[in-house]
Symmetry: C2
Subunit: 318 residues, 2 copies
C-alpha cells in the first residue's frame, strides 16, 4: 500500500511512518515542521520507500500535488495543543478544521477514498457517561480544540456520505511514549529538571486522565483499518482505566528520585477547557482483537525514560 | 435591546428584524445580499431604529465594525441550501463554519457575549431515535451542510466555555411561510407554475419531513432567549409531527387546483445527503411555554398563498 501521512514529522506521525515502512509499505510524508522535528525522521529517511514533502496542509495545491498516487491517507497534522485555544482562537480553526477540508479536497482530486483521522476524546466535552462510549449523548464542546476536531470528524463523515469515502476516526486519549513533546508529563519533567525542589501543578491534582502508549495507539489504528470495513468507523482509543494527575506525579518523581514540594494552582480544572475526567469506553476496538500492551503507569515511566535519554527534545522545542 | 442580525435580508432574518423593531428594539442588520433581498427590508427600512450594513460575514473587520454597540447577536447568515453541498464543498465551510468563527471573534472584540444561532436538525445526520431529542446519540454527519452547522455549534459552545459567552442554539426543521424562497415547496410551486400537467419529484415521495411556520419559529426564539438562561441552551424547533412529501404535494395541488402527473426519480433519498425522515422532539421548547400556532398543512398552504401573491420572488431569484 502507498500511504500518505500528514504530520509525518510529529510524535505520532513519525512513529506511524516508521511502522508503515517496517511493514513494507510506501510512505509519502507531509509536514511543515511547525512542531514536527527533522530528527524524528532520521530512521524513515533511510528508507527508499519513504519520500518527504515539506509543505503546509493549508496550501491546498501543494497537499494535493504531494498526495498523487497514494492509496490511503493518515491525516495526523494538527494543532495538538488543547490548552492555548483561547489565546489563539483562529489556530484550531485553520490547522484542524480548514486543514481537514483541504486534505479531503486533495483526496477527491486524486481519487483517494480512504482516510484515517486522529480525532480526540475531547470531542465529548465534559461527558456525563463513564467510560464514555462512541455513541455518547450529543456533546457540548468545551474547548476550541475539541470543537475543531468535531468539525473535522463532521467533514470527513459528510465526505463519506457525499463522495463514497471510507473513514477511520480515532478518538484518542492523551498519547505518550517516545518522542512525546507536549502535555502534562512533558511539563512536569521540564519543571523538575529545572528545579527538583518544586512542582507547580495546574488545578488541584485530582483531575482524572487517561493515557495510551504510542505504539499501542499505532497497533490499534493499523489493526482497525484491517479488521473493520464500515463506511464510517469511529473508534475510541485508550487504556481501560485512568489515573489522577497526582498519581502520575508520584510515578514521575519516584522514577526521577526527586521529592519536590507541590504547589497546586487549585480548582477542578487545570485551564479553561481542561476536562476534569477523561475515561473512554474501548469496548469497540477491543472487540476487534486489540488490547494495549502497556498500562498507564508503564507508559508514563517509558515517557520519562525517553525524556531523560533525549534532552535535545527539551532544548529544541519550537 | 440593541440586536445585531446577520442575514437580515433573508427569509428568516428579515422576518425577525421586523419583529424586533415592532417590539421596540434597535436593530443593526448585516447582509451581503447574496441570497437576501432588498424587498424583504422595505418595512424595516422605514424604521428609525433600523440600520442596514452591507457586508460579508467573511470580512471579519467589517462585521466587527458593524457590530459595535450591539448587545445581542442573532447569527442567521448562512448557506441555507442543504442540497448542493457536494457540488461546492467549500461553500458550507466558508459561509457557515468560518463565518461563524468571524462572528464570534467580532463579538469578542466588541465585548458582546450573547448569541442566538440558526442551527439545523440536519446535525443529527440520519437519526436513530424519533422524535429526535437534543441529547440524541453522538451523530454521524451525512451532509456538508449538517457538518458545517455542527462545526458552528461547536465553535459557539467552545466560546461559551472559553470566553463566558451565552448561547441559544436553535436546531430548526425546514422553515416555511412568507418570504420562503428555496426548498421543496418552492421547487414544486415553480414547476407547477411552468407546467401544471407534470410534477417531477426527487426520491420516492415517501420521505417524511417536518416543517415549521416562520412566525412560529420566531416566537420560539424570542421566547427562549427570555425564559431560559443556561450558559448553553440547545433547543429543537419544529412542529409536533411530520408529513410525507406526497402529502405536501396533495395539499399544494389542491390549493392550486391542479392535478399533475407525478414522476418520481425514485429512491429513498431525494439527493445525496437527503434525510428520509426528520422529526424532532420539541419537548424542551414546549416546556418553556411555546407551541406552534400553525400545523404543517396550514404552513404549507400559507407558503403557497404567498408564492401565488408574490411572483417577483420567483423571477428575481439569485
Amino acid at each position: 500500500m502507498r500511504y500518505f501521512v500528514t504530520g509525518c514529522a510529529g510524535f505520532i506521525g513519525s512513529t506511524l511512518t516508521e511502522r508503515l515502512l517496517a511493514d513494507g509499505h510506501v510512505v509519502v510524508g507531509y509536514d511543515n515542521f511547525s512542531t514536527g522535528r527533522e530528527s524524528f525522521l532520521r530512521l524513515a529517511g533511510g528508507s527508499a520507500r519513504f519520500r518527504l514533502v515539506r509543505g503546509d496542509v493549508l496550501d491546498q495545491a501543494a497537499v494535493s500535488e504531494a498526495m498523487a498516487d497514494s492509496d490511503f491517507v493518515f491525516h495526523l497534522a494538527a494543532n495538538a495543543d488543547v490548552r492555548f485555544g483561547t489565546a489563539t482562537p483562529r489556530r484550531d480553526l485553520e490547522q484542524n478544521t480548514i486543514a481537514t477540508h483541504n486534505v479531503l479536497e486533495a483526496m477527491r482530486k486524486n481519487s483517494i477514498a480512504k482516510i484515517a483521522f486522529s480525532s480526540s476524546g475531547s470531542v465529548y466535552g465534559e461527558a456525563s457517561t463513564f467510560p464514555t462510549p462512541e455513541d455518547a449523548p450529543f456533546p457540548i464542546q468545551t474547548s476550541l480544540y475539541g470543537a475543531s476536531k468535531l468539525a473535522g470528524e463532521g467533514l470527513i463523515t459528510a465526505y463519506c456520505n457525499g463522495f463514497g469515502f471510507q473513514s477511520y476516526i480515532f478518538r484518542f486519549v492523551s498519547i505518550l511514549g517516545e518522542r512525546y513533546t507536549h502535555g502534562h508529563i512533558f511539563d512536569f519533567y521540564q519543571q523538575l529538571k529545572a528545579d527538583p525542589g518544586i512542582l507547580r501543578v495546574l488545578g488541584d491534582g485530582r483531575q482524572r486522565k487517561s493515557y495510551l502508549y504510542v505504539h499501542d495507539c499505532i497497533d490499534a489504528m493499523l489493526l482497525a483499518i484491517q479488521r473493520t470495513d464500515d463506511r464510517v468507523n469511529v473508534l475510541n482509543l485508550g487504556t481501560d482505566g485512568y489515573c489522577a494527575v497526582n498519581d502520575s506525579i508520584d510515578w514521575i518523581c519516584e522514577k526521577l528520585g526527586v521529592a519536590p514540594r507541590i504547589e497546586y494552582a487549585g480548582g477542578e480544572r487545570g485551564w479553561i477547557g481542561d476536562n476534569p475526567f477523561i475515561f473512554l469506553d474501548t469496548t469497540k476496538i477491543r472487540a476487534l482483537g486489540w488490547k494495549p500492551k502497556l498500562t498507564i503507569q508503564q507508559g508514563i515511566i517509558k515517557t520519562v525514560e525517553y525524556l531523560v535519554a533525549n534532552p535535545h527534545v527539551l532544548d529544541t522545542r519550537p
